[in-house]
């Protein structure tokens, strides 16, 4: 008999710790954006990049199973972006992100956005070395998603409730959704936004600025 006593995801966690150290040394503030497919992650991101361009250095790691379509959308905003294709994989892991950071080489002081694979299950368990996970949920999805996929909403520090410009056409109870999110994560912050109309985006940028300051403090 031999004792092992090791976490199964220990190897990922070691790579994540190495990424986190690199981010700290270069004052890179990293956000891991997670959501289901179609929540508007890439649209939130492209608008954010356009609006913060010139204020803060920005960089993006794009995760998708296939194609570099999202990285092309990102590069069109002028921000440096690298695409990771996970192939058959359902999530990004810290090892892939470490390699991507090495080739992308974000400027010191950057905000680095990692757009994870659209999936509310697997990315919850994989620490990439980020400062925060940001979950994006759109109001065209069910308001009970936070309790259907509790691990992801538990792991996130911020919930962006997107596409709120569509609320008049939908039967989506915002308060009920926030209540569900707080059942799985009493500390989660919630911002209501629309990446297409721009509503609430200033609060999201303010959240980025203050979380970035706290991270580097």
């Amino acid at each position: 008999m031999v004792k092992i006593e090791q976490d199964i995801l220990g190897k990922n966690d070691q790579y994540a710790a190495a990424n986190r150290q690199r981010f700290a040394e270069q004052a890179i503030f990293t956000l891991n954006l997670v959501s289901s497919p179609g929540s508007g992650k890439t649209t939130v991101l492209t608008r954010t990049l356009q609006d913060l361009n010139g204020e803060i250095p920005l960089a993006v790691i794009e995760g998708d199973q296939q194609t570099s379509r999202d990285a092309e959308r990102i590069r069109a905003t002028g921000a440096p972006a690298i695409q990771i294709n996970t192939g058959k994989g359902c999530h990004l892991d810290a090892h892939m992100v470490g390699h991507a950071v090495a080739s992308l080489a974000p400027e010191t002081g950057s905000v680095l956005f990692i757009e994870n694979v659209g999936n509310l299950v697997c990315p919850a368990a994989f620490d990439l070395g980020e400062a925060h996970k940001v979950a994006i949920l759109s109001v065209t999805e069910g308001e009970d998603k936070p309790i259907k996929y509790p691990d992801m909403f538990h792991a996130a520090n911020l919930l962006l409730l997107n596409k709120i410009d569509l609320l008049p056409y939908l039967q989506f109870d915002v308060e009920r959704c926030i209540d569900f999110a707080r059942r799985v994560n009493p500390q989660i912050e919630v911002l209501q936004i629309s990446a297409s109309s721009g509503e609430g985006m200033q609060q999201w940028y303010q959240w980025i600025r203050s979380a970035r300051e706290q991270c580097h403090a």
Binding site: M1, V2, K3, I4, E5, Q6, D7, I8, L9, G10, K11, N12, G89, C90, H91, D93, V121, C122, A124, A125, P146, I147, P150, D151, H154, F180, R182, R183, V184, N185, P186
Partner: protein, 113 residues
């Protein structure tokens, strides 16, 4: 969730430890899996045999010790058992719970040759 990658993680740890702890074959693997870890035990067992094929753990048997979920109710200031992250406190109905146990995914020990 991603039981296949979890099994790959298990085999990586076992292979890395083989050199350190001097073994060449693994007969039994004991894991500790928490009720809140997001791991589907039946799926894990299903993937395990496939992932172990052609490794030092080929043909090994898998034993899983399930750890119940535990939380601390911030309203009652009491420890309690939970089965899911969205469970309310059975005493006061509050959702202000801090999970304190049951999210582990660990390799405990191995029977080796």
């Amino acid at each position: 969730m991603h039981e296949m990658s979890i099994c790959e993680g298990i085999v990586q740890v076992i292979e890395a430890q083989a050199a350190v702890q001097n073994y060449t074959r693994v007969k039994t693997v004991w894991l500790e899996i928490g009720a809140l870890s997001g791991v589907e035990i039946e799926a894990l067992k299903f993937c395990f045999d496939a992932v172990c094929r052609d490794t030092i753990a080929a043909g090994s048997s898998l034993h899983i010790c399930e750890v119940p979920g535990r939380a601390w109710c911030m309203q009652c200031a009491k420890a309690l058992a939970v089965t899911a992250r969205y469970d309310p406190c059975p005493n006061c109905g509050s959702y202000q719970l801090q999970v304190t146990g049951g999210d582990e995914m660990k390799i405990k020990e191995l029977e080796v040759a």
